[in-house]
């Protein structure tokens, strides 16, 4: 069903009213980086770190935006600055933070990061490598269950992981000492960067690859919802759930 349309008189009035276009231009300027961020969340293959980066770039944009041009600047500014703060809990979860820290594109960036958030990311790093060691031990088929593992089983990757992480961040290990390995063009694609330069920190590379491959979006699920809405319409409301499921 088509929504109620404007009458020609209303359209004429709104075209003649300059404030509409002025407001739209201001809103557009404000929202353009946000739309770009949505794009990052949708398309980037190794994007969790980039999502976190975009969030901070967005915060900077909102903070430095010229609100004086807006009609109701104080209220809009207050809202725009409060909104990201309320969503911080999502962007500053340990996974995007760790992904950001392990992303070669952002090693040189110094961005505000509270010690608590950093500590959480480090806990996650240790947890991920410990989890990998448990999985490796179980895959040897000596132990049937996690509960049978002895307390002192050999933790191949967990061993000295923090030293390796520090070497990575400090760029002081093997080929990572070479300036070319951190050049912007070299680090542009983190996956190929890891294949070429990641051998210097092999155990850290394992975690990096795993965390970089994590999906950032729920787009596939949303597409299914959209398809479902096209299949089950007002005219086809008697379709059985079994048929509906098959069509999806």
């Amino acid at each position: 069903m088509r929504s109620k349309q404007k009458t020609p008189a209303t359209a004429t009035r709104e075209v003649k009213d300059d404030t509409n276009c002025e407001q739209l231009a201001v809103v557009l300027k404000l929202l353009q980086p946000q739309a770009a961020s949505v794009d990052v969340g949708q398309t980037d293959g190794c994007g969790l770190g980039r999502v976190r980066h975009s969030f901070f770039m967005l915060l900077e944009h909102f903070n430095s935006f010229a609100y004086s041009a807006a009609a109701d600047p104080a209220q809009l500014k207050q809202h725009v600055l409060q909104a990201p703060a309320s969503r911080k809990a999502y962007y500053l979860r340990p996974v995007p933070m760790l992904s950001f820290l392990l992303d070669p594109r952002y090693v040189r960036r110094t961005m505000q990061m509270s010690p608590t958030v950093l500590a959480c990311a480090m806990v996650l790093l240790k947890f991920m490598v410990a989890s990998h060691d448990v999985k490796s031990a179980l895959s040897n088929e000596i132990y049937e269950n996690e509960s049978y593992l002895p307390a002192n089983f050999w933790k191949d990757i967990s061993h000295n992981i923090m030293t390796k992480y520090t070497s990575f961040r400090a760029r002081k290990r093997g080929a990572l000492k070479l300036p070319i390995s951190w050049a912007e063009a070299t680090a542009a694609d983190p996956n190929s960067w890891r294949r070429t330069w990641g051998d210097s920190v092999p155990h850290l590379q394992y975690v990096s690859v795993k965390i970089m491959r994590l999906p950032t979006k729920f787009g596939a699920g949303e597409r299914s919802f959209s398809n479902a809405a096209s299949i089950q319409t007002k005219m086809r409301s008697r379709m059985s759930y079994a048929t509906f499921h098959k069509l999806l």
Partner: protein, 152 residues
């Protein structure tokens, strides 16, 4: 990456039911093989995250980045009103053939070409920004079309 769509039928979409459904799928894939769970950030899913984190502590719960960015500041009236106005204007110029043809003639006179008005999508906000941009590009031609008296 594993994606599954399931029709729930009569069973209720509670957090407990959703968590049980997800747990069943995770077990079928091998619990240790699943390292992350991505979903939107509605309240029900937050409860599901808590329940799954309890059963599978190594699993990471990831909020959908597009949802998070999408819902950031769009609801403020100062932001929502011009975008809604833009959407209605698009509908008017696109769906009425006579004003549309006059607008195209004016665009041809002003810019030497026809500037297509993009259709804003209500769910993907980046398309609303793109649609607004295309509307602003043709502002002069719109004003000319209105002054010509086409819309009377």
């Amino acid at each position: 990456m594993y994606v599954e769509t399931n029709v729930w039928g009569e069973s209720r979409h509670t957090a407990a039911n959703t968590a049980a459904f997800n747990a069943k799928r995770i077990e079928s894939l091998g619990a240790r093989n699943v390292i992350a769970f991505v979903s939107d950030t509605e309240n029900k899913m937050k409860v599901v995250w808590d329940e799954l984190s309890e059963s599978y502590p190594w699993m990471r719960m990831i909020p959908c980045a597009s949802h998070c960015f999408d819902l950031l500041i769009w609801k403020h009236p100062y932001v929502a009103r011009p975008l809604m106005c833009c959407q209605k204007m698009k509908e008017f110029w696109r769906h009425n053939s006579f004003p549309k043809s006059v607008l195209e003639r004016c665009q041809h006179e002003e810019y030497g070409k026809v500037v297509q008005l993009q259709r804003p999508n209500s769910t993907q906000k980046k398309y609303q920004v793109m649609a607004s941009k295309s509307l602003l590009k043709t502002q002069v031609a719109m004003e000319k079309a209105v002054v010509d008296g086409v819309c009377k």
